[in-house]
């Protein structure tokens, strides 16, 4: 394969009206105390009420077709809204996963009944969803998952443990990758299930991250019985479905914009203006930001054209997540809290961002795994 990505021929000002509308909404939210901008808020900013206000504006489940309660907007329109939410540091974590990957996954693989059951709720920000992929002994080697689903009378019985499950504690459903069949190669025999939460045989316990916060969880399935209709897509097709889902999970602007609220908080102080070193560092970040955004837009366009640009998405996520970490570090170098001249809000944002950096290159598939995917794509091995 000759890995090629072509820049999208869309002026950056396309959809400018929509962009301005979202900005104005966010400006008013901040002015009214609706939220406080934070870096990486797409992971840590859980605020169901905010999610619903956003849904009220039609900005959740934007690409879901109208017949499932959605807004039938284009992927590019969703991309614009997503960018503005990330840049403003808005608390979008509650609905993020449902909007980003579960709605597309259900649209691709779900039954009519599942589409009607889940999509309207996602669009209204009433259904929040979690990803049940990783397990204590299955991280990068996702195909080794041990959670089992056994067919029982009228449904399936799930047994196993999922970990690092973001937002499971507020989710109304979790999409679980489980082994349904043995034999064959290890990528076959996996299936996905949508499990409604809370469930009497599912225990969700917090796992506290190094910033002292509760983002993710351990989710234990103790012979949890779910109806036949919980199977998402085809039995044994789980690996293919999950791979397509990762295309959505890995390609979005949150893979290079997580730290942008921090950068903006710094540049808006104007402190860089008279410092030649700061100017050079800032120019470097903005140069890269500009380039990575072009890459991300190009992948988003391929995705919206119905392709599965998994290799390209992996490449862009590898670059973007490394860049986000660098951005935090550059701002840290130029913002010295000991100087006493740093606004409190900026100092707090920086402290939190520093504690989040390690997650950037782990969540959604580690950068080492991403590089292996790219190399495979390049060499066809």
């Amino acid at each position: 394969m000759t890995l090629r990505i072509t820049a999208v021929d869309a002026p950056p000002g396309a959809l400018h009206e929509l962009r301005l509308e979202v900005r104005e909404f966010l400006r008013r939210e901040i002015a009214a105390g609706g939220f406080e901008p934070e870096a990486d808020a797409w992971m840590s900013g859980v605020d169901p009420a905010f999610s619903r206000r956003l849904a009220g504006r039609g900005w959740v489940g934007m690409t879901v077709p109208a017949r499932y309660g959605g807004h039938g907007r284009s992927a590019l329109e969703r991309y614009v809204v997503t960018e503005e939410l990330l840049v403003a540091g808005a608390p979008v974590a509650a609905h993020w996963i449902a909007d980003r990957q579960m709605a597309p996954g259900i649209l691709r693989n779900g039954s009519e009944e599942q589409k009607h059951r889940y999509l309207p709720g996602i669009v209204r920000a009433e259904q929040f969803m979690a990803i049940g992929m990783s397990e204590p002994d299955s991280g990068s080697d996702l195909a080794s998952v041990r959670t089992r689903a056994v067919e029982v009378d009228g449904g399936w019985r799930l047994t196993g443990t999922k970990v690092w499950t973001s937002v499971a504690h507020i989710a109304t459903a979790i999409v679980v990758l489980a082994r349904t069949d043995e034999g064959g190669d290890r990528h076959s025999g996996l299936s996905q299930f949508i499990v409604d939460l809370p469930h009497p045989a599912v225990t969700i316990s917090p796992i506290i991250t190094i910033d002292g916060a509760h983002h993710f969880n351990e989710v234990v399935f103790d012979d949890a019985v779910v109806p036949q209709s919980a199977l998402l897509g085809r039995r044994g097709d789980g690996w293919r479905q999950v791979t397509a889902e990762l295309g959505n999970e890995r390609s979005g602007p949150e893979r290079f914009l997580s730290a942008l609220p921090l950068l903006l908080a710094w540049t808006r102080t104007g402190a860089f203006a008279d410092d030649p070193l700061a100017r050079a560092d800032l120019g470097r970040l903005v140069s890269r930001l500009t380039a990575l955004r072009q890459l991300s837009l190009a992948v988003a366009e391929r995705l919206s054209a119905g392709e599965n640009p998994a290799v390209e998405a992996a490449l862009v996520k590898d670059l973007g997540t490394a860049f986000e970490g660098e951005m935090v570090d550059v701002v840290r170098r130029h913002v010295d809290p000991a100087s006493g001249a740093v606004p409190e809000q900026l100092a707090a944002m920086l402290a939190k961002a520093v504690l989040h950096v390690p997650a950037f290159t782990l969540r959604g598939g580690t950068n080492e795994v991403l590089r292996s995917i790219v190399a495979k794509g390049l060499t066809g091995r």
Partner: protein, 363 residues
Amino acid sequence: MSDHLEDLAEAVRGVLSSRRPVDATAPAGLDTALWKELEQLGFTSLALPEELGGGGGTVRDAAVLVREAASACAAVPVAEAAFVAAPMLAAAGARPPNGPLTAAPGDLYAEPVHGGTWRITGSLSRVPWLRSAGHVVTPVTTPDGPAVAVVPVGHRLLRLVEGTDLAGEQRDGAVLEGVETDQVFPLPAGTWRRDAELYGAAARALQMAGAARGVLEATLRHVGERVQFGRPLVRFQAVQHQLAALAADVVTVEVSADAAILALLRTGYDRELMVASAKAEASALARSVAAVGHQLHGAIGFTMEHRLGAYTRRLWSWRDEYGNELYWHRRIAELVADRGGDVWGLVADADRRPEGAQVHVGD
């Protein structure tokens, strides 16, 4: 890419196919036979309007030519002709002369003497293929404003200062001590020197994209063929991860160069940011692209007999021309400062004039 651009690339590749580098040796000089062939096919004046004898193409067409020529390490100043000379000639309504043509922004002054003749003084530095070209196109200042001059290189009052770059390509300076010519054409008011720099930087970014792709292709082939410890190098994970990083850098250079061309085509306010980013990324990534290419080739890639050096030597030369990364990083910081620190407005709304923003006038 559209069919039209794909066809164009195919046609250019056809002309260049016999000239691809087989090793890293410096070119003997400007490839005048190749220039002639490209000229006869209309490629060297591709982006000039038809009224001026050009092909009536856009900067996007010119970009295809420039990138392909760079991939073949062709020893012809097509980047200078298509990106630096063409926009000025088109704006002035001047026809290009026949024969090899180079171009560069310099520091030149032209004053009218008599009967339509001008006398040009000043200097040019590190102009590609200057000593082998018939003419050099350059912006000049006249008592009445900006103009473009088509300077005959062989003029007795043009003193050449010969030099070469890291790839062994000619980069010559010139001192003009009153060169007389009637080939001076007034330009409408504008920032011509700055524009020539912008277009030159975009051209170098494209050329670097072509050369970077050359490094990736050579490296992919090498690690698939070279066997150590009983298997091809590509089977080692450490090698695979280096390859992935290389590909990511190459794609970054390519996409930002593409995006810069699209921005020039739209002539929006984002063109400065997009070109700055394209050249800064290309210049900054030249180091890692060349480093990985050489590391994975081992000693053979360090020799004159291997073609890897043809690409890496050009990357090392081109990264410093028309502004290195630090130069463009600083320019970008200026753009951010002009917007009061609003980085996001600059990046996302860059084709719209910011409210209350300063607009650069003059050079």
